[in-house]
């Protein structure tokens, strides 16, 4: 389909801006724009058709089952969209005086308290913009705490070999060194390896629990003991929190710092790649280091407190992605104490899929899972040359979004499946049928399978070409060579 720029015709437009009949002051010539930007010139109905066509070429949770592991693609309740659009939230300026933002501040204060209860840790900042920024914030908190304690030599962060890529990337951005520990054949951290690697240079551990294998670390109490006994801290990557809400709390597991992914666990819509929200909860000793501003309650009034001398500072503008807070708080208030049922059903759904697929796909860790699980297409590859990628592409023809593939790295030909709690059993059964039929097809007709998808707006795309000869913006004419980047 055409790009919106290809639908442009000089002299057409949609929006009109009032001039108010005022004279326009002359700007200094050297600051004025010489050539107008080539934005598309399209009437409103063409814009509407264009973006309607784009929406039609996209697949969301609203379209169908979306078991993308580690991303928690649950239903996004529409009442959340209604309340976030209330003018009192939508049109509120972030620098409004505190007395003109009491409803917003109260909402944030309440949200912090629910998050603190879920985490089992008392102090919360809502500021980080997403999970990965929550990670970075957590690491900055560790640095500040050790500097305050007079232990600046603690410069090593330990992660698991199953960790999300964000963990090691955050370690680098925060200026720490990285060490890795191995996973046992039951999917737990290898305690001997942990003991060998923790010393007085260790700042802390970053861990997802349940892990990216969807398995709860059975040795978590010993792990926490090893780190704490050497004076180090534990960071909980909340990517998989949807497994344990009301069942186990990171603070009780021994973690000192936790980030939440509001767009995973608490239903902020993923928006095609964002926005997210990455609040961080900490133990009381770490509270003084949290980013400013903090939301504070004085009697019946709420205010933003900027006076925190030990704070790491600000990690984002204003008090955080407020619209995300509105949606997540609405989600929590729709569940109340039944938030535990949310996790119960997420775990039930995952185990049901696991039970019904384990005879046709290889199960590398033979245990009950939590909210997600990892299968391997290794056998299909060996016997029929069909890979995890082929399985993923063929699922599209069944009207199902593929699972996460080739992650975690410790499992070859990985298919990481997370159904979430909101799916009906019929949808789970359809997925089982599709996965089983693909496994059969791998034996009977691997050629078709390798050509999949056959029913999407495009067939398999050449990602190698895209990376080798990057075209990262539209070329308006043949002389516009910069759009086509020559690689050396």
């Amino acid at each position: 389909m055409d790009l919106v720029y290809e639908k442009s015709k000089p002299g057409r437009r949609a929006g009109r801006i009032p001039s108010h009949g005022l004279p326009v002051p002359e700007l200094p010539a050297e600051l004025r724009r010489e050539r107008p930007p080539r934005l598309p010139e399209v009437p409103e109905n063409e814009i509407v058709r264009h973006f309607t066509a784009l929406a039609d070429r996209n697949f969301g949770i609203d379209t169908g089952f979306y078991p993308l592991g580690s991303c928690t693609m649950k239903h996004n309740p529409r009442v959340n969209e209604r309340v976030v659009g209330l003018p009192g939230f939508r049109d509120l300026h972030p620098l409004q005086e505190d007395e003109g933002a009491q409803g917003a501040l109260e909402l944030m204060w309440e949200l912090e308290h629910i998050l603190a209860e879920v985490a089992g840790l008392p102090a919360v900042t809502l500021q980080p913009a997403a999970g990965s920024q929550g990670e970075l914030t957590g690491l900055m908190l560790m640095r500040a705490a050790f500097a305050d304690r007079g232990e600046p030599q603690r410069n090593v962060i330990i992660t698991a070999d199953t960790a999300h890529g964000t963990n090691p990337a955050s370690v680098t951005m925060a200026g720490f060194e990285l060490a890795k520990v191995a996973t046992t054949d039951r999917g737990n951290l290898d305690l001997d390896d942990v003991r060998a690697k923790v010393d007085d240079r260790t700042a802390g551990l970053m861990l997802t629990n349940p892990s990216t294998l969807g398995l709860f670390d059975e040795g978590i109490e010993e792990v926490a003991e090893i780190f704490h006994s050497r004076g180090a801290l534990l960071y909980y990557d909340g990517a998989n929190l949807n497994a344990v809400v009301g069942r186990s709390r990171p603070g009780d597991m021994g973690f000192d710092i936790v980030h939440f992914n509001l767009h995973k666990t608490f239903s902020q819509p993923h928006g095609g790649g964002g926005p997210g929200g990455g609040p961080v909860a900490v133990r009381a000793e770490l509270e003084p280091f949290l980013p400013v501003p903090a939301v504070v309650r004085d009697g019946d009034a709420f205010r933003l407190d900027h006076d925190r001398p030990k704070s790491i500072g600000r990690v984002r503008g204003f008090a955080g992605p407020f619209g995300v807070f509105v949606r997540s708080y609405a989600f929590m208030r729709a569940y109340g104490k039944a938030l535990r049922d949310m996790s119960d059903v997420a775990v039930l759904n995952a185990n049901y899929l696991l039970a019904r697929l384990r005879d046709v796909y290889e199960l590398p860790y033979d245990r009950l899972c939590m909210h997600e699980f990892v299968l391997s297409a290794r056998t299909l590859k060996r016997e029929h040359g069909v890979t995890a990628l082929d399985v993923a592409k063929r699922l599209m023809d069944h009207g199902i979004h593929p699972p996460t593939i080739y992650f975690p790295l410790v499992v070859p030909e990985a298919l990481m499946i997370e159904p979430t709690e909101t799916e009906a059993k019929e949808r789970l059964d359809e997925f089982v049928d599709a996965m089983r039929s693909i496994a059969k097809e791998a034996a009977s007709d691997p050629t078709t399978l390798k050509e999949a998808p056959l029913t999407r707006p495009v067939r398999r795309l050449d990602e190698v070409k895209a990376a080798k000869e990057p075209v990262v913006r539209y070329a308006f004419d043949e002389t516009d060579t910069a759009a086509r980047i020559e690689t050396r």
Binding site: A14, L31, G165, A174, L368, K425, V472
Partner: protein, 445 residues
Amino acid sequence: MSTEGYLSLTDADREAMLEAIGVGSIEELFEQIPEGVRFGRELDVPDALPEAALVAHFEELAARNADTSRELSFLGMGIYDHYVPSIVDTFLSRGELLTAYTPYQPEMSQGVLQAIFEYQTAICELTGMDVSNASGYDGTTVAADACFIAKAHTGRRRVVLAETLNPMVRQVVKTYAPGFGMEVVEVAHDGGTTEPARFAEAAQDAAIAIFQQPNAFGCLEPAPELATAATEGGALPVAHVDLASLGLLEAPGNYGCAMAIGEGQSIGNYQSYGGPHYGFLAARIEFIRRMPGRIVGETTDIEGKRGFVLTLQTREQHIRREKATSNITTNQTLLALGGLITLCWLGPEGLRELGETCTALAGYAKERVGLPVAFDRPSFKEVAFRTPIPAREVVSRAREHGVHPGYPLGRDYPGLDDVLLVALTEKKTPTDVDRLAEVLAEVAR
């Protein structure tokens, strides 16, 4: 089974599923959690609300906020009350876009991928740059991203920030800098703008030098001279710009900047008490392999048809891990889509008119408000006025008249306690400015 929330299983479904798994109860599934860390009580959280009661609760909270429909507000300082076209709401609520995630599987996500490609094109076109990422968190974090790029590119450690760069942007850079092994120096303003000679001096041996156009006081900086000054010192010149100004003001790429960054909220996002919005980061081509975050590229499918994919992913955390150019994963795609739709709605003419109306209103306010301007400099859409009493006091008195007159700069700039920053968007009218003038005449004396 719980009747609260958004679950879809019947009791019979549950029984059948437990049987298929081969366990007797849900509790058994949680036995892999060591007993010592199982949570043994109910969560102490507020009770569930059915939908109608939930809406009522939120309406009550929202009613206790003084939003811009209830107060005539001239607040700006980075977030602005520009008009958001209806079609933004239409498409940001389309479920196929709203409820999708990052387009890891391009055949399922051509809509979002093409939209990001179109967004990247628009950002490059507005800023005069070669490459844009799919968005950053906001206008503050993209400045930290630019520093990370500059350190890797130049091998230098110093960051130079004009003091007239938005204070929150500077605060975020200072929070990130120690982790990058960088140090920050600031260049004081001189009568409301940055003196190029001072900027050049600070930029000696620095990695990066960032200024804002229009700056945090609403003044127009001598941007081309600042870019030249930074370049002479060997630092990468970076402009923090307002997309809404780029129909009128020159693109940073056309006056020698290495990168252009900024907060996108003014184009296509509501104020929303500070977020979520989108940050943009665009750069010259030599920085493409150091860019943080998602970038969409064009390619073809096996039948030769054009399509779009996430590209240059070897920069990113899920491939490169500790060697990645950033840890960013979830970005601000939906908000950037709001930006793209707004830019399509405006077109080049509309964007220019938007800038002209803002500038005209700023000019009108300078004439009409009976206070001296704090800085004798050309303005775009914000004007700093000197107040005879502390500006904070002016704000609190004016609010009693239903007018929020602007931002007291003393909150961030010691010594500017008597300066009020007034923002004018195209949504304001001359009558609104008259009202502001009238209230200020009453309270600021």
